[in-house]
């Protein structure tokens, strides 16, 4: 017990500026300190003293102020993995979590190292990050932006996480990204496909490895024109929310540029489960292609309904009727069962990529091998992007030599890398979006096993899906500058 320390010593210590490192009698750490005027700062401090002096017996911890939020202390660093564990995307979240756990294992030098062996940057050496062992905390986003922020804040405030990753919807990604910007934490987005995440809602502290609606449209359009002809009439069913809007816009504008006509675009409620009322009038409209801008349960149900209504057997305008699903996912393909066969869509990555298209996509097999060995089934693209994001973060920290978000941002912005399964990739500095090849896939007609659901139609090279940072579909936002927090 250290009652003998006089209060005025403590007071003197406290009156030093907040940013100063010290080894005083006790330390009051101030986080997220406001940048308002200095007198008010003093006020808060006086309040703190009042409460502190009642509880004098304190002991010192010399970390103090490192200039950014949640600077890792001791020999560990904590990452926060915020994934949907309840709600309709829980399975996707579970797969993301598996990937995160695998990535942490590899970073800490356990397991076979996965993509760390193939990664073009060799900074990571399996001793954690900057020599600190990687720990992680998990949370449940519930695929609701409120819950996701609550969970992320708990990781930041309670567990001292220095990076947040995960999520499986754009609503959550945008909400958590904004939070990380305010708090001074790096956000490595998980599965988020809306243009807005790196468009009008982009933030300096946020990074997206996953592709986006624009890229889907740009990748799909030429292949659709190739496969189905350039004079098609498309009918869009669009989920009535942001992601649906950006996807519809992207697919429309790229297909229309190649000569397609858009007959109609109907918005469907997110809460809809039966899409028959939207599907049934499609044939009457004279359209010969149905584009389902749906994701998750919406997509499974609308596709199932469309097949039930026999759309695929129809011949309209002398052409075979086709269905397109711009954003594909393995879990949804599984949910849709046989209905997915022959349906074209786009993907960020697929576990069979390297086997089918060769060494350009190196890293894929290494990842599939270590994921498959550990869990017994191949990883989904959500798992892949989460794994890659974790490695990229760790690598950026290592190269920067600091956990400071601003150093990380600097290391990641404009970073070019390879060997993470997508071929040569660029993390563009202008909007923190990754640019890489986009896969156009098709539901496999005769799967060899239960995981063999898609075949790769073609890979659209990165150049074709790259757009200017000020492209109209991405306008309205500004990256701002990095925020290190405290």
């Amino acid at each position: 017990m250290e009652f003998r320390f006089p209060v005025d010593t403590a007071f003197a210590h406290l009156c030093r500026t907040a940013g100063e490192e010290s080894a005083g009698v006790f330390t009051i750490r101030e986080e997220f300190m406001s940048f308002s005027n200095p007198t008010r700062r003093g006020l808060i401090k006086t309040g703190a003293i009042a409460s502190a002096s009642i509880a004098l017996p304190t002991y010192l911890r010399a970390d103090g102020h490192t200039g950014f939020t949640n600077a890792p202390q001791g020999d560990t660093v904590t990452l926060g993995f915020n994934v949907p564990q309840s709600g309709p995307y829980a399975d996707e979240g579970a797969d993301e979590l598996r990937a995160f756990e695998l990535a942490v294992e590899h970073l800490n030098g356990e397991g076979d190292g996965g993509m760390m062996q193939t990664f073009s940057s060799k900074a990571l050496d399996g001793t954690g990050i900057l020599g600190k062992k990687v720990q992680f905390v998990t949370g449940d986003t519930q695929t609701k932006s409120d819950a996701a922020r609550a969970s992320a804040k708990s990781m930041i405030e309670k567990d001292g996480a220095v990076m947040i990753s995960g999520g499986s919807s754009s609503g959550v990604a945008v909400a958590v990204q904004a939070l990380c910007q305010e708090a001074g934490i790096i956000f490595m987005a998980g599965l988020t496909h809306s243009n807005d995440t790196t468009g009008k809602d982009k933030r300096a502290n946020g990074f997206r490895h996953f592709f986006n609606s624009y890229m889907s449209g740009a990748a799909l359009a030429p292949i659709l024109a190739n496969e189905y002809g350039a004079d098609r009439k498309a009918y869009h069913l669009t989920a009535d929310y942001n992601w649906g809007y950006t996807t519809e816009e992207a697919v429309r504008s790229s297909t229309e540029a190649l000569g397609w006509e858009t007959v109609n675009a109907v918005k469907t409620p997110l809460t809809a489960t039966d899409f028959s009322a939207y599907i049934a009038p499609v044939i009457q409209s004279g359209a010969d292609v149905l584009v389902l801008n749906h994701y998750g349960g919406n997509m499974v149900n609308s596709l199932t309904n469309a097949v039930q209504f026999g759309l695929r057997g129809q011949t309209v305008n002398g052409k075979k009727f086709e269905i397109v699903v711009p954003l594909y996912s393995e879990l949804m393909a599984r949910g849709a069962g046989a209905n997915i066969k022959g349906i074209i869509g786009s993907q960020n990555w697929d576990w069979s990529l390297e086997d089918k298209l060769g060494a350009r996509y190196t890293g894929t097999n290494a990842f599939v091998q270590s994921f498959g060995t550990k869990y017994g089934f191949p990883p989904s693209q959500a798992a892949h992007t989460c794994y890659v994001q974790t490695l990229l973060y760790a690598d950026a920290v290592t190269r920067a030599g600091s956990f400071n978000p601003c150093a990380v941002v600097e290391a990641l912005a404009g970073f070019e890398f390879d060997g993470l399964g997508n071929g040569p990739t660029l993390y563009r500095a202008d909007d923190h979006q990754c640019f890489k090849d986009v896969l156009v896939v098709k539901g496999k007609e005769n799967p060899e096993n239960q995981y063999d659901l898609v075949e790769i139609v073609e890979v659209t090279p990165a150049e074709q899906v790259t757009y200017a940072p000020d492209h109209p579909q991405f306008s309205g936002g500004s990256l701002g500058t990095c925020n290190p927090g405290a």
Binding site: R61, D140, V174, D240, Y241
Partner: protein, 399 residues
Amino acid sequence: MFGLNKKDGGLLLIVAFLALAAPFILNPFPEGSAMAQFNAGYPDLMQRLVIFGIFAIGFNILFGLTGYLSFGHAAFLGVGSYAAIWMMKLLTMNVIPAIVVSIAIAGLFSLLVGWISLRRSGIYFSILTLAFAQMSYALAYSVLTPITGGETGLQPKYNDPRILDAALEPGQSPRANLFGLDMKASSELEIGNWIFTFNTGYYIAAIVMLLSFYLSIRIFRSPFGMMLRAVKSNQQRMNYTGLNTRPYTLAAFVISGMYAGLAGGLLVAMDTQVGAERMFWTASGEVVLMTILGGAGTLIGPVLGAGFIKYMENIVSKINKSVLEQWFAFMPDGIEDIMITLIYPFVGKGWHLTLGLLFMLVVIFLPGGLVEGGQRIGKAFSRKKASDDTTDATKTPAE
């Protein structure tokens, strides 16, 4: 004290103590210990506990007193939140205008909804309010995206107009503040292995909660509060005693709507973000659960219920397999595995299961909610002391 009788004054003092000392009370376990997982004394959760407490206190004024079960109160919370964020985008990051406007807008909206819904009673009333809330949610998520931000919600941005505020320095994010006092400013106090966090935003929210709680005690003890309980008890007698029940119920509805708006505004003040899911029917259901779980019609019950559910949501959902492994590491391997297998389904991603089971257990065994549980414990203690003068305290209907 403050025009309260001794018992209510005591209750207010207890709540005030709990709220002000929350950073200590909610952080009973030292950092780094296995039990630290259960610590809830970090700013965000503490803020949520008091804000949802306010929401539930307000809901209780309607449901606990008049017995009208609204299934759409989240709509008022959501509308309040949207009003607040727009004030922050357009006017100033100072939380005062945001909160004031959120209360006002939520009040107006609840006046409209209440005026229509209160034409019916019983489950018909519940379904009417549910219908309004679901419509608000559906529209906010989709068609009203230009106003609400839809799926991605609204956050203050660097380039918002904010006509009252000075321009931000480059690189600065707009921060919610009270005349310059940053909502996110925190001080930490370390005692031994314990770290206690004192957060400006939390204390502001806690003070607002105490004021709300005080106001609710006054309403409970007022002639108006008695009239509301009379509405619940016998509307026929109300009418034949010359009292017009409609304005009473409407006033209660609007007051509880304004409480919801206040909660919504505070949520934005603490965490500058609004998403439409805030208005989904499950969010309305949640406040019903909070109120009943704590004890509908009691003063303190709704606050307890809100704390209970938010604690579950934020703490239990974060316990994952590796945390369990850490806890049971001291056990022999076989037993450790069994323990983990037994507990794992109920924590982490299984936290909903625990929540569902707890609802059932509480309703089955404690029909009066947590407050009744507390009273039973209290009774058990007083029985030991062989004193029977507590029956009056537990039976007072207004409580």
